[in-house]
């Protein structure tokens, strides 16, 4: 690239059709900017989505794009990565798409660690089908299918990621471009499946569902901005998280005559399982919501391993000769007289 790329280079000619005020706009802009900033090319970037409001995303990107079927984007993306491993493959999905109908696929993508970047737009509602509660909706959510309130327990995307052996999990707020940008860049650079949960506001069907986290007035007390190697501090450094009894997180006041910073837990994206489980258990308003890169560990990606195996077999056996393969096993020859020789 001679001239510096800008977000514009990744904007397609299609009219964006999300509702005014939808959090998706901000995420779209952040992703376009991330591609520009990281020197990505339109031809080597592919966006694959499922079904839902967020899944219209690929149409708005001036890259390769595949708007597929409900919940199945991770499987299509995995196949693409196997046939064309040099591509930078992104999966765009929502809470219904990824965690309900596509739950099985996201689980296995994470487990295999296919080199994909999955952006999970979590607005805790089905928008496109007009407002039914979703697998991340809180208990008691009133919706067209749950007029008396939902009774089922919501799924926690980070817990699912941990259970699936994910190597990268981050959480960011849709409109917080300043932190979303670097997270997207880190996800893109990560080898293996990166799962980014974006708390997304749906002003039409679930307005303010993330208020406890995103409200600017309460932000300092309800957001825990994770920084690698730094203690878990929030509220302008006045409060912190310490290891409490029974491996639980405990909120403590920090300062003179109170807890000292050295007592606090220190964030390590490649920390222990117990630490990650603790982060997973923390949610606003009881706790400040952890934001940033919650987990990042190194493990070879599936596509890397699978293709290395192909290379290995090729090295050991040489390029296969089809004639030899067809006649492998027991063969016999019939002579000109029509009888076996």
């Amino acid at each position: 690239m001679t001239e510096k790329q800008t977000r514009r280079d990744f904007v397609s000619d299609q009219e964006v059709r999300w509702c005014p005020g939808c959090g998706d706009y901000a995420i779209l802009a952040a992703v376009q900017k991330c591609l520009a900033d990281t020197g990505a090319t339109p031809e080597n970037s592919v966006f694959i989505s499922g079904i839902g409001c967020s899944s219209r995303f690929p149409y708005y990107m001036k890259t390769y794009g595949f708007h597929s079927i409900h919940g199945r984007a991770p499987s299509i993306a995995s196949g693409l990565k196997l046939s064309n491993p040099d591509l930078d493959v992104w999966v765009i999905t929502g809470d219904g798409d990824a965690l309900s109908i596509g739950g099985n696929h996201i689980l296995h993508a994470l487990r295999r660690n296919v080199d994909l970047n999955i952006i999970l737009f979590n607005n805790k509602i089905y928008g496109l089908t007009k407002g039914q509660y979703s697998p991340t909706s809180s208990e008691g959510t009133k919706s067209p299918t749950t007029p008396f309130g939902s009774v089922d327990y919501p799924i926690n995307p980070f817990s699912l990621a941990l259970g699936s052996g994910a190597t990268f999990f981050a959480r960011a707020i849709d409109v917080d471009a300043k932190s979303l940008g670097p997270i997207l860049q880190a996800a893109k650079a990560h080898k293996g499946t990166s799962l980014i949960e974006v708390t997304q506001n749906c002003p039409i069907f679930n307005d303010g569902v993330w208020d406890a986290v995103t409200n600017r007035k309460t932000a300092t007390s309800n957001q825990l901005r994770l920084e690698e190697g730094k203690p878990l501090l929030f509220e302008g450094g006045q409060k912190g998280i310490r290891l409490g009894e029974g491996l639980t997180p405990e909120i403590v006041e920090v300062g003179e005559g109170k807890a000292s910073e050295s007592e606090l837990l220190v964030h390590k994206a490649d920390g222990s399982d117990a630490y990650h489980a603790m982060l997973a258990s923390m949610a606003a308003p009881e706790f400040p919501q952890p934001l940033g890169i919650l987990k990042q560990v190194a493990r070879p990606s599936y596509d890397e391993l699978a293709l290395a195996q192909v290379d290995q077999v090729l090295k050991e056996r040489g390029k296969g000769d089809l004639n030899a393969l067809l006649s492998s096993g027991m063969t016999w020859t019939v002579g000109p007289d029509g009888r076996p020789e």
Partner: protein, 629 residues
């Protein structure tokens, strides 16, 4: 039955229950042998080895393995009986034979489940060692069937305590009695090899090669094999041996092959002919899994395989691979194909090449997983939402499956469409000799990934084939979006325009129907006009062709057409059917092709159908035709 070419001293003549002892080495034209035992008795292995011996001797062969759905149904139960039928002949044969001439029953359940099929006067070899009281009871017999003289006198019965003989033969090996028990199938193999004058040495070599990794087991099996072989020789158990002369084959190099292996090899060949890597993605399901097993071994042949988390992901990853420029392939059976339905529709609307191998089994639902049936033609034709036509090819025989895989790939890449390749449990597991093709004789069809943006639009079509171009992500200057929403006929952008939708539905239909332009002539047995035209498809080919041969020898005016391109149908089919007084559509379903033909051509065709998880017998078809005229 063992039809003796001498015609005089035939032990298996219908209506002559008292066996006449033939001279040693009596020549017979063809023999049908069925090995039956508990699913843990190794009957499939025995059958396969015996098949190799027949092939090596130059006989024409056709096999029919028949095994239970449970891997290990309760030992000794009827549900756990596993069978392997082999038909070998000095003349051209197309089926594994209607009824066995020789039945080897390794236990009471095997006897009970199979004796009804044995030819009257046929040879019955019974492993008496397994006829213990508990085993007899487990098979559901009230008393020991060996005491049932009224039944046994219909056959030439040989009672051999294989358990004991094997135990004795393996006395020195130090194996446990359980391990020794596992060798008894090789005794049966040895005995049958002696009876049909097979060379022992190649068999012994085979066994040793097979158990290369466990030489002690291999040695024990060889001992059991030799014990059986020598027992035949010295104990004169059969009083006679038989010889089936080699059949006459076209000159060339041959091997045995099952349908699933042929499909797998066909996909490898297709990838090379298309000069394009193959990515297979699937999920285990009976009876399709072995296609996946074979392909997983061919990693140095341009094949990548992926075991997905479920059937949907199986096809999803195959679509993703095709999107990325490879030939995406998936394989399954009815229940799995049902799950893939939505994704097949996606592949159809985004117009990407994809090969979907459907190895049919008994349905509906889980149905009869290990039994054959042809009841998924409707599923292939109609099993998707919306107007979603796609090409369907049905393999006729195990060897034909190789060529069908190539043809399916050729159509998929030429017309940018998913293609369904239908096989069935009978083709998948049945084996026949295959004259190996020269790879150089197979016609290449190199695929084109368009790289030139000049004049290109994502949905601009080739005027002749109506196919859009295959533009692979990574190609500069051609980034575009595809998806499951209806798209503009040229730009591919989402379009809700009513006229455009109708236009796109028609264009997708026209593209598929246009494929029939590529079809060659019909492969008809018999004249192109006459009294009866038998129409079949898929794995019934052998039985139908053989039956038509019999009927024609009888002077009947009968012809046979086995349809290979199930959709679109050959445009000449309508005229062909008009040349016959009667059309008989024979299928292992309740009349699916029949309905299609009736609705497409308003033809007064009759169906002959069977739903027993078993192939047609030649006799059934002959009777059906006789009744019709």
């Amino acid at each position: 039955m063992e039809s003796s070419t001498t015609g005089t001293s035939n032990p298996g003549n219908i209506g002559s229950p008292t066996p006449v002892t033939p001279a040693n080495g009596t020549e017979v034209e063809k023999v049908v042998v069925r090995f039956a035992g508990d699913s843990g008795d190794g009957m499939q292995l025995t059958g396969n080895e015996f098949t190799k011996a027949a092939a090596l001797a130059g006989n024409d062969i056709s096999t029919f393995p028949d095994f239970p759905a449970e891997i290990r149904a309760p030992a000794g139960s009827i549900a756990g009986v596993s069978g392997f039928q082999l038909h070998f002949s000095s003349t051209d044969i197309h089926t594994p034979g209607d009824a066995p001439d020789v039945l080897i029953a390794m236990n009471p359940a095997a006897l009970k489940a199979n004796i009804g099929d044995l030819q009257l006067g046929g040879t019955l070899l019974i492993n008496t060692g397994a006829f213990t009281k508990p085993n007899v009871a487990k098979a559901g017999y009230e008393s020991n069937p060996l005491d049932d003289e009224a039944q046994l006198k219909n056959y030439e019965v040989h009672l051999v305590d294989i358990n004991k003989l094997v135990n004795t033969a393996l006395e020195e090996t130090g194996l446990t009695s359980k391990e020794k028990g596992r060798c008894k199938n090789f005794f049966a193999l040895g005995l049958m090899c002696w009876r049909y004058q097979r060379d022992a040495q190649p068999q012994i070599d085979n066994i040793l090669a097979k158990f290369k990794k466990r030489p002690a087991v291999g040695e024990a099996n060889v001992l059991a094999f030799k014990a059986g072989y020598n027992y035949g020789l010295t104990a004169e158990v059969f009083q006679a041996t038989y010889k089936v002369k080699p059949a006459s084959f076209e000159p060339g190099r041959y091997r045995n092959i099952t349908g699933n292996e042929a499909v797998a090899l066909g996909m490898v060949a297709a990838g090379q002919l298309a000069e394009c890597p193959v990515v297979f993605s699937g999920y285990p399901i009976t009876p399709a899994s072995t296609v996946f097993h074979y392909l997983s071994n061919y990693k140095n042949y341009g094949v990548t395989t992926f075991q997905a988390e479920d059937e949907i992901a199986g096809i999803g990853a195959a679509i993703g691979a095709s999107y990325g420029g490879a030939i995406g392939v998936t394989a399954s059976s009815g229940p799995g194909i049902a799950l893939k339905g939505e994704a097949i529709g996606l592949a159809q609307i985004v117009e990407l090449p994809l090969v979907i191998i459907s190895v049919q089994r008994g349905g509906p639902s889980t149905g009869l997983p290990t039994k054959t049936e042809q009841s998924d033609l409707y599923q292939s034709l109609f099993g998707r939402n919306g107007e979603c036509p796609l090409p369907i090819i049905a393999a006729k025989t195990p060897t034909d499956a190789f060529y069908c895989a190539i043809e399916a790939t050729r159509l998929a890449t030429k017309y940018m469409t998913p293609v369904i390749l239908l096989s069935d449990g009978y083709i998948a597991n049945g084996a026949e000799p295959w004259k190996l093709p020269e790879v150089d004789d197979l016609e290449p069809f190199p695929v084109k990934h368009l790289k030139d943006a000049e004049g290109w639009m994502p949905y601009k079509r080739d005027e002749e084939t109506l196919a859009r171009s295959w533009v692979v992500p990574g190609t500069k200057g051609m980034a575009h979006r595809v998806g499951g929403l209806e798209k503009d006929f040229l730009t591919g952008n989402v379009s809700y325009d009513p006229e455009n939708h109708e236009r796109m539905c028609k264009i997708r239909e026209d593209k598929i129907m246009g494929i029939s332009k590529d079809y060659g002539d019909f492969d008809i047995e018999g004249e192109e006009s006459g009294d009866v035209l038998i129409i079949g498809w898929g794995g019934t080919h052998g039985a139908l062709r053989q039956a038509v041969g019999v009927l024609r020898e009888d002077g009947k005016s009968v012809s046979h057409l086995q349809i290979r391109h199930m959709w679109p149908l050959n445009p000449k089919l309508g005229d062909l059917m008009k040349n016959f007084n009667k059309i008989l559509v024979c299928e292992l379903n309740m009349g699916q092709l029949l309905m299609v033909l009736r609705s497409e051509y308003l033809v007064d065709a009759t169906g002959y159908n069977k739903m027993q998880g078993k192939p047609f017998t030649v006799a059934e078809i002959c009777n059906a035709v006789t009744e019709l005229v």
